[in-house]
Symmetry: C2
Subunit: 183 residues, 2 copies
DNA sequence: GTCTATAAAGGGATAGAC
DNA sequence: GTCTATCCCTTTATAGAC
């Protein structure tokens, strides 16, 4: 039984996007080639272009679902933060990894990241009180990025070997010190 | 009065290295071209190759002085840490920026960074007590990376606008919570 | 819808003149 | 020591056949 054009098309697209996410996450934008994506997806390089028009567009589409991970709504902010960190340290979605991997070298990725992080900072900042609310929010956000990079992208030994509970336990007072109201 | 060959050579080398550091710091390894380095240094592209043999070698030489910033010797660890952070947030040397900028996408840079960070983690860990000394050291190190990236490479608004004293004041209890002895 | 062929550009590296 | 000229490979992107 044959598939319709549309079915085949969207099936190819999905496979290409998946392959792209994986490679962008692994190698970053510059070192990922259309050819490699096509090979990984088991299709022809020209097909990738046919579907997405350009490498940049492919990147945008592959990454758009999950910019840099957000998800800090009011509530038990710290617990939410740790929860998010937990997600980050276990199974951060490939799209987010791709974003982070590329944000220091690819200008467009940097812009997206800045925008996404800005939103997150605003969200967290809105929950905090004090003149320095946004600054504290920015520091917390940066800290989360640092731990995520150390763990997921640089693969630092002690972080890789640690259980999530341990990291939780150690990071909680640290985040608390930064988020807790103070002059 | 003419300069000797050796003098001219080392003068060129210095200018090339300076230009390379700047561009690697700004754009990362992949997006920095030999041609651009040469233009920035006001020399011929071929001369760059003549001096350094390959782009990779140029990168290594440009970055070797200051891998990822270390400098955490025993003593008042936290104050040292903050001091280092202060340096990072004001005038981190271009070589270190180049290193950080490239460490997520350039495999060789990643290796160097891992090694340098590993040394730093060991140093900090040696000062701490408890089974989780190394893990705490790794977290502190990652935090410093995160704040530095947010400030220097991503240029997050609240961090750019903040004074060093403010950041100091906010980060101190945060680092203290992580470094202070506990079960 | 997918592939072949190829255009077009960019960039690392080399040989040799000056 | 430095520059000119150039090779050659890689990669994105396009045109058109099947």
């Amino acid at each position: 039984m044959n598939l319709s054009r549309a079915e085949r098309r969207s099936r190819s697209e999905r496979r290409i996007l998946e392959a792209a996410r994986g490679l962008f996450a692994e190698r970053g934008f510059e070192r990922t080639t259309i050819r490699a994506v096509a090979a990984e997806a088991g299709v022809d390089p020209a097909l990738v272009m046919q579907h997405f028009g350009s490498k940049q567009e492919l990147f945008s589409r592959a990454v758009q679902d999950a910019p840099v991970p957000e998800g800090a709504e009011p509530g038990d902010l710290i617990e939410r933060m740790l929860e998010t960190l937990g997600v980050k340290l276990s199974g951060l979605p490939p799209a987010s990894l791709a974003m982070m991997r590329s944000m220091l070298t690819h200008p467009e990725a940097a812009d997206s990241a800045r925008a996404a992080l800005g939103r997150q900072i605003d969200q967290v900042g809105a929950v905090l009180s004090g003149d320095d609310a946004r600054l504290r929010a920015a520091l917390v956000t940066s800290i989360m990025i640092g731990v995520t990079i150390g763990h997921q992208l640089l693969d630092l030994d002690p972080l890789r070997d640690a259980s999530q509970e341990e990291i939780d336990r150690l990071m909680r007072p640290c985040l608390l010190a930064l988020l807790h109201d103070q002059a």
